[in-house]
């Protein structure tokens, strides 16, 4: 019987040094390029399904098409009609799921998607231009401002796209089936070539001050390592 803790692996392989953080083998590559593509798969991802007009929907407060951070700094994405995706720090999926109040709705499903989906972050002023090489949806501010969420094809792959700017810099989260994560990652790197895109490992801050603080705290008490 193996007695070591299991190591989780993202579907995305980035050339260069790797390290173990939060129980995940992640790339230690760091980029300061103006356009960066990072693997955010280790973030906890929880899918919630409930009636679009029910009490839980009202409590979550984010309809399909929008994304916002709640009081716990969890990113709540309205990812479909009656469907939400919660994104939080690595290892927090049980906690995220536990906060969902299921009693008042007829039928609520809460599923941990952490291991079932890949999550990428594309950050930089040219992010929309790079993404427009692959995605038919209008990425202009007037149609998809910060906080907009939609599902469409990116490089022919069904992908949830969330505009989630970081300190005023244009940034997109891209969420797809885990099995096609590497494909999407490679397609975005190719599309961003003319804008000098570089791969970026799983580092912190995860483009958000609040999340950084949470993770720093988790690391400090050793619970995440």
């Amino acid at each position: 019987m193996p007695d070591t803790e299991p190591i989780a692996r993202s579907p995305i392989r980035i050339a260069g040094p790797a390290q173990i953080r939060f129980g995940w083998e992640v790339s230690a590559v760091r980029s300061t390029a103006a356009l960066r593509l990072g693997d955010r798969t280790p973030l906890a991802k929880v899918l919630v399904r409930a009636a679009p007009e029910g009490r839980l929907a009202a409590a979550l407060g984010v309809p399909f098409g929008l994304a916002a951070r709640d009081d716990h700094a969890t990113l709540v994405i309205g990812s479909g009609p009656g469907e939400w995706l919660l994104v939080g720090p690595p290892g927090s999926s049980a906690e995220l799921a536990g906060r969902i109040e299921t009693a008042d709705d007829a039928l609520v499903s809460v599923l941990d998607f952490t291991h079932g989906r890949a999550l990428l972050r594309l950050t930089g002023p040219d992010g929309a231009r790079a993404l427009a090489m692959l995605c038919p949806v209008d990425l202009a501010d007037r149609t998809t401002p910060d906080g907009a969420a939609f599902r469409s094809a990116v490089a022919g792959l069904a992908t949830d796209v969330v505009r989630d700017d970081v300190d005023g810099t244009r940034s997109y989260l891209l969420h797809c089936e885990r099995s096609s994560g590497q494909f999407l990652f490679d397609a975005l790197l190719d599309a961003g070539g003319e804008y000098g895109i570089e791969p970026d490992g799983f580092g912190y801050p995860e483009n958000s001050v609040q999340l950084f603080e949470q993770v720093a705290a988790a690391e400090a008490d050793g619970s995440a390592e």
């Binding site: 399909f64 098409g65 479909g80 009609p81 038919p136 949806v137 939609f150 599902r151 469409s152 094809a153 069904a158």
Partner: protein, 80 residues
């Protein structure tokens, strides 16, 4: 490429959808005659006019939506 106004996602390219066919009621499986059942399976009106259709938004909200489409011009309007 024409667009379909998805009630959940907004105006999207038709390439995101799968055509699920004309809207036709399913006969009662306990009483349907072979003629009725096979008409349900295989016979399409295919009018050169407005038709009621179901489209599946496979690359979007994953909802089956009803629309009216003019088969000559590809104009689309929501089911009235």
């Amino acid at each position: 490429m024409f667009q379909i106004p998805c009630p959940h996602c907004g105006l999207r390219n038709v390439a995101e959808f799968r055509h699920a066919g004309e809207r036709r009621p399913r006969p009662d499986p306990r009483t349907a005659t072979p003629e009725q059942w096979r008409s349900y399976l295989y016979t399409y009106d295919n009018h050169a006019d407005w038709t009621r259709e179901t489209w599946y938004h496979r690359l979007g909200c994953r909802r089956y939506i009803g629309v009216e489409r003019h088969t000559v011009t590809n104009e689309i309007r929501p089911v009235s």
